[in-house]
Amino acid sequence: MKSYDDILIELCAILAPYANNNLILDEGTELVSDIGLDSLQVMQILLEVEDRFDISIPLNIIPDVRTIKDFVLQLEHLTRQS
């Protein structure tokens, strides 16, 4: 099972190509307002995350994910279930 920190590192690696070079990604980074993801980019990221962690992300958690930390917590929960 992956730890919170492992997931955080892997998630940041997935997000890095979408972020501006000057932006340092950390737990508090907001996905939409800081990184500037539009709706199609979000779909691409969900795909990469699903493939990397071998999980299926339920639609209903998406609107509650604001920061990288929110996302990691959800992934931690989902990987524990799978």
Partner: protein, 595 residues
Amino acid sequence: MKPTPTENRVPLRPGEFDNLSEALDYAARGVTGCNFYTGKGELYTVVSYAELREQAQTLARRLQGLGLPRGTRVALLADTSPDFIRFFFACQYAGLVPVPLPAFIHLSNRSVYVEQLRALLVICQASVAVAPLAFLPFLTEASEGLDLRFVGSPEDFGALSEGTNALSPLGSDEVAYLQYTSGSTRFPRGVMITQQAVLNNLSGIIKHGLAVRSFDRCVSWLPFYHDMGLVGFVLGPVASQLSTDYLSPRDFAMRPRQWLSLIAKNSATISFSPTFGYDLCTRRFRQEDATALDLRSWRVAGAGAEMIRHESLANFAKALNGTGFNANAFMACYGMAECSLAVSFAPVFQGLEIDRVDRDYLSERQVARVAPNGTGDGNRSGVSSFVNCGKPLPEYEIQIRNEEGRELGDRECGTIFLRGPSIMTSYCGDADATQEVLSPDGWLNTGDVGYRVKGHLFITGRIKDLIIINGRNIWPQDLEYLAEQQPEVRPGDASAFSVSGVDGEELAMMVVQCGEFTGIQGGNLIDRLQRMIREELGINCFIELARPHTLPRTSSGKLSRSRTRQDFLQRRGQLFSNESKHASSELARECGATG
């Protein structure tokens, strides 16, 4: 599990029904139906039309058990699922009016989505609301304090007792459904379509537009809350008894190649997408996919719902080289929810036909004069290319009018007006908006601009203020509202519109006038607004701050978005290779419109 077959047992009946329940009654006599696939391409539910009819009638009796008056609105959260179709037809049999609600969700937009659902429930005065379990918490929150008889998941409906009266389906002059034309939170517009109107349009689509044959099979990933997804690919297949394979829009956006795999797997013949969907496939397509896919069966690859960018479609066909995809399958079409769905289709299997016109002549004189031979395409050539969207369906009368309302001739560019039996009755509960577009003698002002050549329609742009991004309608009012909520901005000080990006795709722009239009404070305002717009609408928007009194107004003092746009293009002239045509890549980058 096996998908429903393509070949049917009953003869093809191309539309020609009095109402939607009658269309399903006939389809239920055959063996065709709907098939639902996961994002990984696995078939998870098969519902034949015979089963659909039975299930819809059982549900209809449960709805009847609630004792609702005829014509009561039933809001259905339109996630791509068999339950949506079951409930949609249950309403038809029970004499109730279904209202699809958007299932579009985005990161961190919970409160925005709930607020949006609430506004849509209020406008249509829904008495019942249904959502799949995953969406139910949003719908429940949205309906708090509203006077609804029942809010629940399809499973909750299973527990209701059935009414005992004979079912009395919606008749031909009753409203068939209510269709929201945008996901606008604050300015939603619900189009009211009668049974007669939609069935008339469906017959036209099936017979004249697609020339449906008994060997046809559809594949669709289009949202069920979108006119092309609902009318084109839920109601259309029922009214022509075709089997259809469904993929959800979210699964398509994540794995666009699944769309093509499904077409190949079941030898489908008809599938549509806005241009952006073809673009998405091209970007994600790998050469090794080509050898694994056989797309020879695909005879109608429709394009509509946003301006058709022929270069994108050409790139798609090129990327698919080796799959057997034939570019002649491309079919340009034009339509809108206010006309049920379809207005015109290019001829079947003739590919895209491009009209190349003199750009300067068009912008100065509003006449689409054919460009001299040998002139190149592109930004510097002085040539604009428009796609032939074909002849309007025979049911329509069409006029192209200039600003004074005079009817124009061939190749003269003006606003497109339509009259015919498929046109909406009104916008729900909005007499002013209805009056703006629909004249007492039945002419609909489409808000689109174009010209005709020998009866064929070419769309060149829009005068209505709609912005279309990735096939989604975005209302400028929603962007302006967000700006006006900022302490630095007063009401009426923001104006939003769209311009074309480098590849012809639309980019959202907004000019905001305020005192703090430069420096750090200005930068903060831009940054804050862009964040809010991304969170609410999931799009990037370019924001320009301007001095007070910059925004042009009409003689009656109303904000003029089209003149703001013209002024903006002039100010930014050096960034544009030609007025109003293509934003430079520099501007596109500023807008964050990355591929």
